[in-house]
Each structure stands twice: as C-alpha cells, then as structure tokens.
Amino acid sequence: MAKHDLKIDIRTSPYIRKAPTVAQIMRNVVYALLPLVIYSVYHFGISALALILVTTLSCILTEHFFCTMSGKKSTILDASAVISGLLLAMTLPPGFPLWMGAVAGFTAIAMGKTLFGGLGFNIFNPALVGRAFVQAAFPVSITTWTPALAVDRFSEFIPSTLALPFMHPLPTAEWSARVAIDGFTGATPLALMKFQGIMTNSYDLFMGNIAGSTGETSTLLILVCGAYLIFKKMLDWRIPAAVIFGTAVSAELFYLLDPLKYPTPAFMLLSGGLMFAAMFMASDMVASPVTPLGIFIFGCLVGFLTVIIRLFGGLTEAVMYAILFGNAATPIIETYTQPRIYGARKKNQDKS
C-alpha cells in the first residue's frame, strides 16, 4: 500500500488566510502620503523637500540603529518608520531648521516607539511624540511659518532651514515680507484668528491657499488621500469621522454661545492640522482604541480637546496635544468599552 511516501505538514487550522501583510499596509500608507508630500513641495519648495527627507531619514536610521543595538532584525522594511518620518515632516513649519527636524525624527522613533518595544507597542503616535518634543525644545522655530508659493521657492531655501545645529536660526520675517505674493502672509489661519481676530474663508482653507505646516494645508488633498486608504481598508474611517464629529459638535456649541467671539465649526475643521491629524494621526492603529464604542469616544475626545485648547489654551496648534492625550487615554477607554458579545447574558457570571 505504501506506494507514496508522503511528507505531511502539520499545522493547526485555519489553513487559509487572506490578509494584507503589515508591510503592505504600511507601504500603502506611504503611497497615500506621497501626493501630500508632492503638494507640499510644490507649495513650499525645496525647503519642504529637504525637511521631509531629513525627518524620514532620521526616523529610518534611528529605527535601524536601535534594532541593531538590541540585536534584533532590522524592522525598517516594514515602512512604519517612513510613515512616522513623513507624518512628522507634514506637521512641521516648512522653514523648520533641518537639524531640528533630525532631532525630531530621532525623538519620534527613540522615545515614541523603540522605547516601548517597537511597532505595535507604542502608546503614543511616534510622529507626535517627536513633534511634541521639538515644540517644547524649539518653541520659536516651530511657530515660525513662512509664506507659501514664494517665487524662488525651488531655487532658494527659506533662511531658517539651513541653520547650523545649536545656532540661532536666521530670522525669517524680512524674507517672508520679501517673497510674499499678494494675500499671503506667514501667519496661519489659526494664529490670525487667535491673535488678530481675522477669519480666513473656508474655500481657501479647503483648497490649501494658506500658510501652515508642510502638509496640512490642503483639506481637499487630505480627504482624497485618506479616501484611498479607506477604500483599501487600510485606514479605519471611524476614527477620522469621530474626530471630525467631535470637533464639529464642540465648535458648534461655542459658536452658538457667541457667534462673534468664537469661530464657525467649518473654520475649526478646515484650519490648522485638524483634517490631517484626524485622517492620518489620530488613526494610528496602534495608539488608538480597537473597540467600536472606544473608537467613537476617542475621536470625540480628540475633537473636543482640540476645540478647547484652541479656544482657551495659549497655543495655536492644539490637535497634537489632543491626540497625545487621547492616546494616553486609550487603555482606559478600551477597558470600559469592550463590545457586547453575541448572546451576552444580563448581569451575571462576571465573577471577576
């Protein structure tokens, strides 16, 4: 009978699987970010390009370094470090000194990711950890915005970009005044709102004809890129939806209280980094809740905190802290929002 000598491979079920790999998901996020990268380079010129390259390289090298140090296989091929680098660059002002960008990239991966055990274990969104660090370390540079669409942006660096490490970056005010074309100033819509009481109109906000951080200016492009990932099922639409919902409701509340003093919900949604953060930052899989109700609460919390910090805090950029706070709250949100299982019985047998 033993005609065939058969080598049997023993594993346990299920024997079939259909899932994108982690690396595929991460690569698709990178693809989705590329249009934003290109737009920001078009918008802000070679300074933005240099900044993006520096933060991304810094993130990759940091990850590689720590993997080597701890004797692990390098994980840079899963592209998650690239995402952190790109996300980080997108949130920084285009004229941000490059060496500070490198510091931000290092901090993002070192303090935000490898410290906790690498991909899958980070409590906070690494890119935001990097940004929070440089926000505290270099408060002036990170709030110095330069005009978009400067004439010589493809041939000339923004003066502050090439600052030497630990040196004072060159002031940009004069340069900004020189290169600014009509209607563009270095001040972001949020700063205009907060300090001068000027509202930018929603159309400009939506299209991105404004000053701001490298990648956060065009809401339209952000929505399109996010839609690609949602279509590929590699981004959970519920998170951006909940953040937008939370922001809109909170802003509407204040707007109803005093329409003269507080901005409209549309302005809140379209200004600053909110759209970008909602789509690409808050939706960081690892640092956000997994339970359906938890996702909703997380999003609303982020939206609400953003509005509160923007209206009553000393900072113009609020969404970063809102998300970091949301990340910190994630474990406790999850604990109290476990899904109701099929056939759950009412109040019993929970002996724990």
Binding site: L6, A19, M285, T291, Q338, I341
Partner: protein, 448 residues
C-alpha cells in the same frame, strides 16, 4: 431584532467571505468507495464517553452489527462498517492526536455492500418521545457537521423547556466542503423523513431548512417536496463564513441569539445538520446504525476530487490512493480549511464527524513571521461572536489565561478561525485561544 434582515439577505454581523473552492466537487454525484483491507474504528468518535467494545479478537462480524455499546447516556454505540474479522481491540493513531482505543477489523474478501435486514422496523409515529430518543441513540448518530455531538442527547429536551422550531443546518459554510450539498440533492426523502422524526422527538411544530445562497439549486429541488401545510420551510441565507455555526444560523434566520454558554433549547430551538437528519431518516425506521458517511475528498493534491460514501474507519491512506494523490508534500486536513484538524499520519481513520479530506499540495498560507499586533481592528470586525481577539491575543502572549476567561469571554469563542484569517500580523490567534482554553480546563480540574 435582526437589522440585517431589513436590508435584503438574511445574515449575521461580522464574519468573512473566503473563496469557496466548491466548484471542484459540488456537481459530482456521491460515489461509493470500496472497502479498505483494514478498517480502524476508534471507540471515541463523539463528544461524551467512548463506546465499550463488546467484540473479541478473532470474532467474525457482519456489516451493521453492533461492535461497541454505548457507555451511558452521553455515549453512542458503534456498528461494524464491514464484514470481517476482529484483528485487535487495541490502541491506534487517530485524528484527535495520540493513540486511542480502537477496534481493528480485517475486511473479508467477500464483504458486500448489503446490510443484513433484521426484519425489524419501527414506525416513529407510534413511538413516545423517550422511545424515540432511545431509538436515535441506537443508530449511533452524532452530528455529522463536524462537532460530533451525540444526536440523541440534543434531542432529549429537558422537561422544563419547549422547542418551537427545528433548524436544519444546510449552510455548509466551510470552503471546499460539498457533502451536505450532495446529501441535500440526493437524499431529499431521507432528509424530510429525518426532519419529521426530529420534530416529533423534540415536539416542535415547525422546521426551517437554512442554506447558503450559493446552493440555490438545492433550494429549488427541496421546495418541490415540502409539505403544503408550511410546517417545513426552506430559506436562503447569505453565503458568508461561519454562517453554518448554529449561533449564527439562529440569528440569521430568526434573529434569535443563543445565550452565552447555553444551549439552543434555552431559546426554544433545536438545530441539526442536514446530513445527520438525512441519516436519521435512513437509519431509524429500519433500526440500522451509522456505518458510513459522505466525505468530500478535494484540494489541489488529488487528481480525482469528489464526494464519496466511505465506511467509517477507512484509513486516510486508502482514500488518498483512491482519489489519486499527487505530489510528495502536502497538508492533509480532516474537515474544512477553517476548522479542520491535521492528519498526523496516513494511518488515521475517518470517523463519524469527518466531513472532508482536504489535500493541499502547496501551502495555501505563507508561513510568514509572526509580527506584533498593530491593533488594526480587523479581527474585531471579523469575529461573529463580537469578541475582542486582539486583546485576547495580547493576554495570551502574557499567559493571562484566567483574565481571558473571566473578562474577555474566552469560552464564547468557538474557534471559527475568522480572526486568524484576517490578521495582517499572522498571529495564530485561534491556536492561542485553544491553548488557553485547554490550560484553563486543566487548572479548573486541579482546583476542584
């Protein structure tokens, strides 16, 4: 209320849509297999207590004769699948892993397909419910859908419960499997008789046959035979895995949830697999026992995939040679690709619960590295029970098995495999859960 039913197809939340791979065999008429030279009949083929062998070495047995008796109520007898001589009552390799007590029969060269007619017949309409339960036990029937739960135990409804509906499970949601499909087409009379016997045994007035909507030819065929009084109906449900899990089917058809840790009878349901009821209709009236079953042999590792009527106890090696196995390296799976068991050797026999022999020539899944959970929530969106496999997996990695059970409903997991199927990190979640359950059981035994 089942909101799904408001929007078209009857279904349940979550689940997955794997490729069905049923085209290879679904149109193939069931063919009878010849007898293997040696038949290995394990004594433990179902949930509950193993049967007690009542034959001795050298004894001649006749096809259909009882060779092992039920050991108490939670046990079923075993009948001889072939004419032959008892070679040994010993231990043998089984699909469950390890060696288990088994009766080994050397098939007589003149073994025929006939089963000696005892001349005894029973009319189920003249029998009481208790007599029916006893008669069902005597047939040795267990759930043929894979769980192998003794059918008569399911039919013995506690006196304080009433059953309003018998659900007849013809979903066959596992990819590759087509045995139920064939049974429903080829044994409609037996099936309907079996349904009537089951309805009478559990005192239900209604029966619904549920099939996935990829088998609409079955729906059309069976509809012609249904009684006009509407007591037995057939309904299509969405083709989605694991539609054939009884909890899912109950929800899809009736919007009823079977309570956690409870039995369907708690909510007035009795749920049986179609093949089980078809066998019941064939065996009970003539007082015979279960000695063979339809099995799908398929996969890209065999030249002659098909549906075969195989004697219980036929070794896998025999089936493989009959279906013309190709290649030298394979994954050999008893059952479907989502919940089946690996065959550890070619000498393991098929048992009453084995619905398929799947031969995958090359790995359908890549042996990727296991990566950390990235909390993508895909598993939460796939779990039909609405568990949190992500968190359960993290707890399993930390060996916090007690927390898994007490706070995260580990025991509600029925190991359908959806979470492992969708996991981008390739985490063997179901395997983690099986280990956790086993260790918890051992811990509870030690503590008690």
């Amino acid at each position: 209320m089942n909101l799904f039913n408001l929007f078209g197809k009857k279904s349940f939340p979550h689940g997955i849509h794997p490729d069905t791979y049923k085209e290879q065999t679904q149109a193939k008429i069931t063919r009878r297999l010849p007898f293997a030279d040696e038949i290995i009949v394990p004594l433990a083929q179902s949930i509950g207590r193993p049967a007690k062998a009542i034959v001795f070495r050298g004894q001649h047995v006749v096809r259909g004769e009882i060779i092992a008796e039920a050991d108490g109520f939670m046990s079923v007898p075993i009948h001889a699948p072939v004419n032959g001589t008892i070679k040994a009552v010993d231990i043998a390799s089984t699909a469950k892993g390890g060696k288990q007590p088994a009766i080994i029969i050397t098939t007589s060269l003149n073994s025929g397909q006939q089963i000696p007619d005892s001349g005894e017949h029973c009319d189920y309409l003249q029998m009481s419910r208790e007599e029916l339960v006893k008669a069902v036990q005597n047939t040795g029937l267990v759930g043929l859908g894979g769980a192998a739960f003794p059918t008569h135990v399911k039919m013995a409804i506690p006196p304080d419960r009433t059953i309003h509906t018998v659900l007849v499970n013809g979903c066959e949601c596992e990819p590759f499997l087509t045995t139920d499909h064939r049974v429903m087409l080829e044994q409609i009379d037996n099936l309907l008789l079996g349904i009537r016997i089951a309805m009478r045994t559990v005192a239900a007035t209604k029966a619904i046959i549920g099939i996935e909507d990829n088998k609409l030819n079955v729906l059309a065929a069976i509809k012609l035979y249904l009684p006009d009084d509407g007591t037995i109906t057939i309904e299509a449900v969405e083709t989605k895995y694991p539609q054939g899990a009884e909890k899912m089917l109950a929800y899809s058809l009736l919007g009823i949830e079977i309570p956690s840790g409870g039995l369907p009878s708690e909510v007035g349901l009795a749920i049986f697999n179609v093949a089980t009821l078809a066998e019941l209709g064939a065996l009970l009236p003539v007082k015979q026992g279960l000695i063979e079953r339809v099995i799908t042999i398929t996969g890209d590792g065999v030249k002659k995939p098909g549906n075969y009527l195989a004697p219980i106890g036929t070794p896998v090696r025999f089936l493989l040679e009959y279906a013309e196995f190709i290649g030298a390296e394979a994954e050999l799976i008893l059952g479907g690709p989502m919940m089946g068991m690996p065959a550890r050797s070619l000498d393991v026999p098929i048992t009453k619960g084995t619905g398929a022999l799947l031969v995958l020539d090359k790995r359908a899944t890549k042996g990727d590295d296991i990566l950390p959970c990235i909390k993508c929530t895909q598993c939460l969106q796939a779990c039909p029970i609405n568990l949190n496999p992500s968190e359960l997996g993290l707890l399993a990695a930390k060996r916090q098995y007690d927390i898994m059970e007490e706070q995260y409903h580990l025991n509600d997991c029925f190991e359908c495999g959806c979470c492992s199927y969708v996991c981008p990190s390739n985490i063997p979640l179901v395997q983690y859960f099986r280990i956790a359950k086993t260790l918890n059981r051992e811990r509870h035994l030690q503590n008690s």
